[in-house]
């Protein structure tokens, strides 16, 4: 199973270009409230993450994703289902 900590680090790395205000990215960082990602930006982010891990992310998970921590947990689940 993919290490959760590694996933958070990788997600923070992917999120860097989306972090227009240059805030400190942490597990609790809220994608909409703190990073200001609108629905189009979220889709752009999804594609980047999908290509980075070579997986497809179902949109059904989005209601459960508010923070980087939520995203990493969902990603970990998806990656474990694939392996």
């Amino acid at each position: 199973m993919q290490d959760y900590r590694e996933l958070v680090v990788k997600l923070c790395d992917i999120l860097r270009p989306f972090n227009e205000e240059g805030i400190d990215l942490k597990e609790e960082t809220d994608l909409a409230a703190d990073l200001g990602l609108d629905s189009l930006k979220v889709l752009e982010l999804l594609v980047t993450v999908e290509d980075s891990f070579d997986i497809s992310i179902p949109l059904n998970i989005l209601p459960q994703v508010r923070t980087i921590k939520d995203f990493a947990e969902q990603l970990q689940q998806l990656l474990s289902e694939r392996s």
């Binding site: 609108d38 629905s39 889709l43 497809s56 179902p58 949109l59 059904n60």
Partner: protein, 399 residues
């Protein structure tokens, strides 16, 4: 905290529009003068946002059939087909649709929206996967959400992206449903159906094509994009609506799959909705007959569409990628869109204004739909109204 708190963003967006002096969601067509002219705000207005592609809403044959059905069978069915029974017209229309599409079976639904969610939720449930083009209509997104299948987007008309996603699914492609549209409702472009069917066959997935905007518009016989692209045998399910080229309301699905009949027993939107009224079924049957026997309507539609597309292009407007009965003027600024839409209405032309997030790229659209029923003078009036937009001053930015 109230259950209404979540409406604040919508309320604020509506207030923005009201501040601009427009009531886009409350346009009232006060009186019809002819099929494509009506009185709006007391002014004679050309209707260029109707989806009435073949101009059949006032066809005398359709009206006669509807009136006859009203007299013979009443105003409504007052319940679902499962509970209240089928009317002979429902069965006859299903037979005629199956014959028109050369398919083994057809199911009629109460609206196009119900048809798409009825089919999608029945076909793809928990454990299944739906792959949809990112430009698909909201009804298709709703069909994904309601059914409980995993749903994944692929980039609009990007076959490499579709294939990449199918490859990532591995064995799950066997229970994957791909959904695309014949003509996309926002920009009026076609799906790359020939390529999509090749990929679909390679990975063993099922394919559903929503021909809502392409029925009666594309193909030699008017059956839609699958016919035009010569791939009808590779499309598992075709869904469509009666509310556009057929000038009524309702929806359908046709297919060769023997399991289609089972959909009637498992599709909740089919089971628990009142069935279409007899007059609607009768006018739809008459319109389908006209669609099949008067190909000149399709020719006239395309003549009008190409003319308007070229004229708007020559004026320098940024449009969708190809001429089509849906012609969308793409703008960068919401305020400019609202001011332009208002000016068009003042010039006696009604088009659809589509604002983000309903648009595909986050920018607003002024969306025209062209009809075979538009006269050359009406097309000219639409062109002149758009030409006048070059004088619209830059408005203050909107939130």
């Amino acid at each position: 905290m109230s259950i209404f708190d979540k409406f604040r963003p919508v309320s604020s967006a509506l207030q923005d529009l009201t501040n601009y002096g427009v009531e886009t969601v409350n346009v009232v067509i006060e009186r019809f003068i002819s099929p494509f002219e009506a009185v709006i705000n007391g002014r004679q207005t050309v209707l260029a946002g109707t989806n009435n592609y073949l101009g059949l809403t006032f066809d005398q044959e359709c009206i006669r059939a509807a009136c006859e059905a009203l007299r013979q069978e009443g105003t409504g069915t007052t319940g679902s087909r499962m509970a209240n029974g089928n009317y002979a017209g429902h069965i006859a229309l299903e037979r005629e649709l199956a014959e028109f599409f050369s398919r083994k079976g057809a199911i009629v639904f109460s609206t196009g929206y119900v048809a798409i969610i009825g089919m999608m939720t029945a076909l793809a449930g928990p454990g299944d996967v739906i792959l949809i083009d990112s430009d698909c209509h909201a009804s298709i997104y709703d069909g994904c959400r309601l059914g409980g299948a995993q749903f994944i987007l692929f980039k609009h008309n990007d076959i490499a992206d579709l294939e990449k996603r199918l490859r990532r699914l591995g064995k799950q492609t066997e229970n994957t449903l791909i959904v695309v549209e014949g003509i996309y409702s926002m920009l009026g472009d076609r799906a790359m159906l020939s390529d999509i069917t090749e990929v679909k066959k390679k990975y063993g997935a099922c394919l559903l094509v929503d021909e809502a905007h392409s029925l009666g518009v594309l193909g030699k016989q008017g059956r839609g994009l699958a016919e035009e692209a010569g791939v009808e045998d590779d499309v598992d399910f075709i869904v469509g609506t009666f509310s556009k080229s057929l000038g009524a309301i309702g929806g359908f699905c046709v297919s060769n799959h023997p399991q289609l009949e089972l959909i009637r027993c498992v599709s909740r939107p089919y089971i628990f909705t009142a069935s279409p009224s007899p007059s609607v079924i009768a006018s739809t049957r008459a319109a389908l007959k006209i669609l099949r026997t008067r190909p000149e309507l399709r020719s006239r539609l395309w003549e009008n569409a190409r003319k308007l597309y070229q004229r708007l292009k020559d004026m320098g407007f940024v449009l969708g990628p190809e001429p089509s009965p849906i012609i969308s003027v793409r703008l960068k600024d919401k305020g400019k869109a609202v001011a332009s839409w208002k000016k068009l209405l003042e010039r006696g032309v009604y088009v659809n204004m589509v604002l983000p997030p309903a648009t595909t790229d986050g920018n607003p659209l002024l969306r025209c739909s062209v009809s075979a029923g538009h006269t050359p003078e009406q097309v000219e009036q639409i062109c002149e109204a758009f030409a006048s937009l070059q004088d619209v001053p830059e408005p203050a930015p909107m939130s």
